[in-house]
Amino acid sequence: MFKNEEMEINLGPQHPSTHGVLRVKLRLDGETVTHCRPMIGYLHRGVEKICENQSFFQGQVWTDRMDYCSAVANNLGWAEANEKLLGITVPRRAQYIRTLLNEFNRIASHLIWLGTHAMDIGALTVFLYAFREREDVLDINEAFCGSRLTTTAFRIGGLREDLPPGFEKMVRKFLAKFSDCLEEYEALLTENRIWKKRTIGVARLSAEDAIALGVTGPMLRAAGVAYDIRKAFPYAAYEEMDFEVPTRTEADTYARYQVRMAEMRQSARIIQQCMDGMPEGPVMAKLPKILRSEVNEVYHATESPKGEIGYYLVGEKGSLNPYRFHVRAPGFINLQSLPKMAEGGLIADVVAAIGSLDIVLGEIDR
């Protein structure tokens, strides 16, 4: 009477849990996923090609628009890659301010992840609380560079302007309340039995698989590999900062949640240290009037909230724009692990798997 056959369905491209326009082709046997393939490219804008046709200075605005949830981290990677290519040293105060804003961005990105991931799984309340704190971070962004989301925060060689008046007060106010806020989120989720049932043991990705697939960021650290570029290859002012790299060994969705929560605490610690040890001095290096590349090619990786974001720039000596520009986007590479996590699980767990990846499609499609 009933035929036993597999059904093929599309999750997305307009599914609310896919955080953009991701289409996942699923083949189902009952409720079990037997085959899962993410389809990307709906948000492709050709950022890499646009940057090749513009000067080194202009390229930064496109990096904001790749991963719009962590625009400052993208700006930092772009600026540092270009400084390597152009042979510029950045003043120490600028490095500190960059580190400070980058950590704020990590908090904002993790908060948006926490809110939307919890909402996908069914806990709506956290979304409202997480976005309340994110609003404060965006206000700090706005006070520093004039824009909330697409920040264009840094310049090649340093910063455009020093910190605005009243900035320190805003930061201290945020830090004073942030640990209480984190406890609030954890009170809502960590012990909650529904949350635990929906996340513990779901979408496992072992350390071997994660390394084989090139997965980085909190996904990798939740599998027990303490790889963080801020520690492994320090950039900006991270060498002088005292912080830990949180890891878990369970490698499931719950472990990723715990890693990201712990990372937010560490970020707050780094911000505190930046604020206390802020050196005086200029914020902009002396630049030539026209930026010309000094070396032929450069790869610079930084730790974005999602993982390793690497900028590969090829520029012939003396050229005005990059000959080739490539982004190693953490979301793009982390997304490869979705079939590994989803196949064999239930269809409801695909949503949890996508949520725990913390992807932004603007960055994946570029």
């Binding site: 513009q54 202009q58 605005v61 309340r132 004039g146």
Partner: protein, 167 residues
């Protein structure tokens, strides 16, 4: 058995509910009272939204004390603009040594508000103002220039719904 007892006593859910209850209590007893520090919702269209001093809004041209356009057509902003939204046409004016912008076209629909143009300007002739309500009904409303009524580069835009005074 122990697990069964824990199901009867939902301490974890009570913990979460206490957070919600705390916030509910705070808001419930102070609802509709302004100047409550933890109210994060503002009555936006009625109460104008505040922006930070460095906010990047719409591009605006400046005039000096005599009412003369400060722009001298060095084309720095046109060159640096990542989306090429600025078009300048050089011209001469009687009694002015410097070139004068006969045309200064600004296509706002493609502007990404990065403030590179302001940064590149060596004459402080342009700024980004604090206006963010920039929606309009017609595409022509986004083409700004040095001439025209209201919708020019010198005055705040009148197209935003809430920037017009209610009358």
């Amino acid at each position: 058995m122990n697990k069964f007892l824990r199901t009867l006593l939902p301490a974890d859910i009570a913990k979460g509910l206490s957070v919600t209850g705390k916030h509910f209590r705070q808001v419930f007893f102070t609802a509709n009272r302004r100047k409550v520090p933890f109210h994060i919702v503002s009555e936006y269209p009625e109460v104008p939204a505040k922006v930070q001093p460095r906010f990047r809004g719409r591009l605006t041209m400046l005039k000096d004390e005599q009412g003369v356009i400060k722009c001298v057509c060095c084309l720095a902003c046109e060159k640096i603009c990542p989306t090429q939204v600025i078009t300048i046409e050089k011209g001469k004016q009687e009694g002015r040594k410097m070139p004068y912008p006969v045309r200064y076209d600004f296509e706002m629909e493609r502007c990404i508000f990065c403030e590179f143009c302001v940064e590149s300007c060596g004459f402080d002739a342009i700024i980004l103002n604090h206006q963010f309500e920039l929606a309009a009904y017609n595409r022509e409303d986004f083409s700004l220039g040095t001439e025209g009524l209201g919708q020019n580069m010198f005055e705040p835009s009148h197209v935003g719904k809430f920037s017009v005074a209610d009358d």
